[in-house]
């Protein structure tokens, strides 16, 4: 079985978001980390690898610096990393990004693609489902549990107050929530191996069946009018089975998980 996990290097928003005067993110002022939802997706893939011996490839698009998250993924246990980087791909919105990643994925053999639900720097949750459209694959978003059953996946899809259990035949695409699991740490030896590993680097010329008009800044229909730190809305969650101390621990864990603290 072959799994491709799409990951993104993002600024850590834990200490607050910093903007440039023009409304774009001041990435230089923030620590770069692997996007939490993507990390959960990677952990899900690594657990499948632990059980079935699946091969896990990590794919990212970004600046050359983004190879850091590929090495981190290899240090956690991924088998290989592919970086898509090219000046003409810069400034991409979700449409241009998903077009690019789909163009890369057409060169890769896979049974399952896992992406994070959304990245903490943009919060769009669009790239995963868009990739599935480009590749004509079934998509199950917001996965909070993933199981492999023969040639199919069984996924619990999270809603605010319930979840759906869905089954899809592979190949398919799943978008993962950070609540899916607790990602493993890297190992020191894994880090040493990761820095010996060769990262495959692809440019525009390596993308398959994509049109230049859908790539980079020029191929991005989105224009940012205004950017602000996110405001979370939702139905919330009611817990009745905790005592006061347990509730504090639960709330603190949730806040950490959401990168509030």
């Amino acid at each position: 079985m072959k799994i491709v996990v799409c990951i993104k290097q993002v600024p850590d928003t834990k200490g607050g978001v910093k903007f440039n005067p023009d409304g774009t993110l001041d990435r230089g002022a923030m620590l770069a980390i692997m996007n939490p939802d993507d990390k959960a997706g990677l952990e899900a893939a690594l657990r499948i690898k632990d059980e079935t011996g699946a091969e896990v490839t990590v794919l990212t698009m970004g600046l050359p610096k983004a190879e850091e998250v590929l090495r981190e993924a290899i240090a956690m246990g991924a088998d290989k990393g592919i970086l898509v980087t090219d000046r003409v791909l810069g400034g991409a919105d979700t449409w241009a990004t998903s077009t690019t990643l789909a163009g890369a994925l057409r060169n890769i053999d896979y049974d399952l693609i896992i992406t994070g639900r959304q990245a903490i720097d943009g919060d769009t949750a669009q790239v995963g489902p868009q990739i599935s459209e480009h590749l004509d694959l079934p998509v199950i978003s917001y996965a909070k549990d993933i199981k492999i059953e023969g040639d199919s996946v069984v996924v619990e899809r999270q809603y605010d107050d319930r979840y759906h259990v869905l089954k899809a035949k592979m190949p398919c695409l799943i978008t993962a929530l950070s609540e899916l699991n607790e990602p493993r740490y890297m190992t020191p030896g894994g880090i040493f191996d990761a820095f010996d590993a060769e990262i495959t680097v692809w440019g525009r010329a390596d993308l398959k069946d994509v049109d230049d008009s859908n790539l980079g800044l020029k191929g991005s229909p989105t224009k940012i009018a205004k950017a602000s730190d996110k405001v979370r809305k939702g139905a919330g969650e009611i817990k009745t089975d905790l005592d006061a101390d347990g509730a504090v621990v639960y709330i603190m864990d949730k806040l950490k998980e959401k990168h509030v603290i």
Binding site: E68, R71, E72, A75, R184, Y185, M186, T187, P188, G189, G190, I191, F192, A194, F195
Partner: protein
Amino acid sequence: MDFTLSKKHEMARQLFKDFAETEVKPLAQEVDETEHFPMDTVKKMGKYGFMGIPIPKEYGGQGCDILTYIMCVEELSKVCGTTGVVVSAHTSLCADPILTYGTEEQKKKYLPDLASGKKIGAFGLTEPGAGTDAQGVQTKAVLEGDEWVLNGSKCFITNGEVADIYIVIAYTDVVEKRGRKVKSFSAFIVEKGTPGFSFGTKEKKMGIRGSATYELIFQDCRIPKDALLGPQGKGFPIAMHTLDGGRIGIASQALGLAEGALERTIEYTKERKQFGRSISAQQNTQFQLADMATKVEAARNLVYKAAMKKQEFAEGAKVSYSVEAAMAKLYAAEVAMEVTTKAVQLHGGYGYIREYDVERMMRDAKITEIYEGTSEVQRMVISGSLLK
């Protein structure tokens, strides 16, 4: 000459930092209060390879260098001195001598379980009548047929009782040297559970209170002939060489404690307000912090340099790292004591309260000036190299 850490080492440091902050820091106060050995943390560290960082992959280790191992002890000690010394004693004092002096059979038998943290290691040299003066060692090993018979006791043994594998130094002969009778020592690998091997008192300590410090007792303890580590009669140089490595581990523990105390103090002095402004705005605070940071940086350079010298040895170069290790331990331990004491002072009354980490760090720091060779012994080693 390059003082920049490679990206690989930066990533390893980040790993140790994340682990320490998430898994170790929340337990540090409880471990100290309850004197509870952090076994769950050790198992977790074993799972992620922290118990076998410099052990080659062929023996189940992580195959990393000494610097990576040192940074692990440093980052753990920033938040918990106990957890730092557990890894240091296990790696430097047990796994390292087996790796350096063990036969292929011994390496295959012991290193994989040590590297995975399935088994914990310890080292026994000190005795009630023998600390710095190794000739005072009373523990004796006599070869009877195919077995060595051990009698005697060891005290202040870090990871005692919780460890499964012990490197034990005993005398095996008395030889004439320059007209004087001197003991000749050998090193042995002794497993927990061997009949005749038991544990005495658990020490109640000032600091590193979660670390298990026990007396080891050998009463007609029979171990196989092949439990001898290295050549017979070479126990003293093996012990001294092992301690050279151990001192780099303790130096990094001391460095971590000093760094941790400095970090807490910077945070505290920014928040604490007196006379209408934060105490970090006072020049006294600023100058104290500047001195603390400068000494920490100097200590770090000495510790990393010693680690790199040991790495040269590990890669086959015929070099001694004894003086570098002694300088690193001497300086880092004294900096740890000074910086943690200043940290308590800058915290004022709160620094004396157990709720604040610096109180524990100051108690933890003291031992780094004492164990694995006191500061006085380090001065003897250093001056000995100058005046030979």
